[in-house]
Structure formats: C-alpha cells, structure tokens
C-alpha cells in the first residue's frame, strides 16, 4: 500500500470516531432544569457531557448535576467532590456530603458572563457500580473575572444511574446548550 493511502486510511479511522451523540438540548429562557432521561447507560462505560454558554437568570449561580437512579432523582447529600478553582488566586472546593456535583461554578449573568466546559462520567450504568465525574470548565463570574475549574465528583452508592439532571442552584436558566455522548467500547 502506498504511504499516502496508509496515512489516509489511518486518518479515516480516527475521523470516524467512537463518540456517539445520545442527545443535544438547548434550554429556553426560564427553564428550571434540563434532564437527560435516556442516557443509554447499558451501552456505554463512559459518557461525555458538553455544556456551552450557561448563563443563570439569578446572578452568581452555578449549574448543578444530579443523577437519576432507575428513574428516581437522587437529591440527598450523598455526593462528594474535589475541585480546584483558579481566578485571582487558587483554592480548593472539597466536600464528602453534598446534594449535587457541579457542571459549572457560580457564574455571572451580565452581558458576556457565562460558562462553558465538559464532564466525563464513568460507570454510570449497572447496579454494582459507583458513579464518577471528571470535569473542566471556564467561566466569567459575577465580578467580570475569569475562573477555570477542574476536578472530580463521585456518588459512592452502588446503583444504576439512568438519567442526568442539569439545573441552576437557584432560579432559572437564561441560556444553556448541552450535548451528551457515549464512548463506544
């Protein structure tokens, strides 16, 4: 095989990808939640969630994540996370008892203030697995400054997660565009 064909073939393989779109949603201003209720958890070991241009209706509110376990929303303080955030300095946000993990930290809602980023989720499906998140995002917070946040979240109970809820910590959503993908194995 000529070298050029070999390279083309390799690139073609890369181009085809194994990341499969499950669902894309755009919020309407005033929405209070965005639910992904058919995440095909038995088909994928890893999911990618992209979140673009999140802006809360109430200033300085973040975008939380909760899981559904066999259709029931888990809203108790069972979540744990460890995030590092960097703005004018560097700090840690750590908890072993919280009612959500985070997609986006507290974000401003003035013109130009928003947040965008992504989360990888691991082992959501299956009743014998715990559920994990790896997150990174950037945002403009309510003082107009830039902040970057990254880290991991965790729901330690063994349960089948079959849905993901995105919601502002309080108030409603002004803007949010999100897509959920499954990583084929």
């Amino acid at each position: 095989m000529p070298l050029g064909s070999a390279r083309f073939g390799l690139l073609g393989l890369v181009a085809s990808g194994d990341l499969e779109l499950i669902q894309h949603q755009s919020a309407t201003a005033g929405d209070s939640v965005m639910d992904f209720s058919d995440i095909k958890e038995s088909d994928y070991k890893a999911h990618l969630l992209t979140v673009t241009n999140f802006q809360p209706n109430t200033d300085s509110k973040g975008l939380g994540i909760r899981f559904f376990e066999n259709g029931t929303l888990e809203s108790d303080t069972v979540y744990q996370f460890g995030y590092k955030y960097m703005d004018t300095g560097t700090a840690n946000s750590l908890t072993t008892s919280y009612s959500r993990i985070r997609a986006i930290y507290s974000t401003g809602n003035a013109a130009g203030e928003s947040g965008s980023g992504h989360s990888w989720f691991y082992e959501l499906g299956g009743s014998s697995t715990q559920s994990y998140q790896s997150m990174m995002h950037g945002q403009i917070h309510n003082t107009g400054g830039f902040r970057v946040v990254f880290g991991g979240g965790y729901m330690p109970q063994f349960s089948n997660v079959d849905g993901i809820r995105l919601y502002p910590i309080s108030g409603t959503i002004d803007a949010l565009d999100a897509s959920l993908y499954g990583l084929k194995q």
Binding site: V14, T50, N53, G138
Partner: protein
C-alpha cells in the same frame, strides 16, 4: 459518529515562527477538540514555549483580551504553580523545547462555540517535556483553561514560538463534535 476530523496540519523540519490554521471553525459545530502532538522548536532555551491565539473571521490573529489560568507542573518533584493571568496576548501556552533536546509538547484543547459571536472559552491539558533551568530536561504537565473576552466570531487558531524561534515540528488535528 460524533467526532469528525476537520483538519490535519503536520510540520516537519519547519522553518516558520508561526503556524496558522484558518478557516477551520464554523457554524457546523459548537464544540471543537484541538489535539496537538509532537511540538518542538528549532532552538533550545529554558522555558521554551508556543503562544496559542485565535483568528477572527477577517483572518486577523487576535492579540488581546485573553485571560487564562492553569496549574503547571514543571518537573514532577515540586508542587505545581499558577500559570497565566488576565489581559494576556495569548489564550494558552504550550511548553516544549528543541526536538533534538527531546523537548516535546502534546495535549488537547476543547474550544466552546468559537464561531458564535460571544466569548470563546477553552479547557486545556498538556503533557510533554521542556528545559528548566537552562537545558535541564524536565517533564511538564499543564491543566487549566482560558477565555477570549470579546463577542467575536472565531474561525481559526495560530501557534507562535517565543523569541521568534521557528516551530520545528507540530501535528495538529482539529475535530468537530457533532450535535
């Protein structure tokens, strides 16, 4: 399939200080994955690096209104430190060195909605090797993100080595994430 290869740029034995890939971002995708691999410079120095900048829809490289914040592991024996700041002239820094000194940069940027006329955010990870101090080789890892703070439609990206050194090697593949 949702991850679509849009552009492949390969530099070998390069003789240019700047590599510009434009146009590559469009209304076809909201989210892009930029993978850079095997980057190096043609001249050795400590803290050798490339500036990453965005290109607007007129083809002009943007040299202002960037903030970026990162944790940088420069060598793996000391704690990481903060890298970046406000009102920079680059949106990210890729650390590497001369290729025959085994300096090398590899990583991924995720860029969110660059083509829309809004602020453009990215998240960034690099793992490679560099020299500090002088020509002492170290492993390097950088993790963070940045923003271009203007309501500008972005169509491209550029890489510029510091000190006007030429970029010796660079492979950049840009993917669109279908939605």
């Amino acid at each position: 399939m949702s991850l679509k290869l849009i552009s492949t740029t390969e530099v070998t034995q390069g003789n240019a200080n700047k590599i510009t890939i434009n146009p590559v971002f469009s209304a076809d995708y909201k989210v892009y994955c930029v993978q850079f691999q095997n980057t190096s410079a043609d001249t050795q120095r400590e803290n050798n690096s490339m500036d990453v900048r965005l290109v607007d829809s007129t083809g002009t490289e943007i040299t202002a209104n960037y903030d970026h914040r990162n944790l940088m592991f420069r060598g793996y024996t000391n704690a990481p430190f903060d890298l970046g700041g406000s009102n920079r002239d680059e949106i990210a820094l890729i650390y590497h060195d001369k290729d025959d000194n085994h300096g090398n940069g590899n990583g991924t940027m995720w860029i969110y909605d660059p083509f829309g006329s809004n602020y453009t955010y990215h998240s960034f990870q690099e793992t490679g090797s560099m020299a500090y101090p002088s020509s002492t080789k170290l492993g390097v890892h950088i993790r963070g993100g940045g923003v271009h703070k203007a309501n500008t439609s972005i169509t491209g990206i550029s890489f510029t080595n510091r000190d006007s050194y030429d970029i010796e090697t660079l492979t950049c593949r840009i993917y669109g994430l279908k939605q």
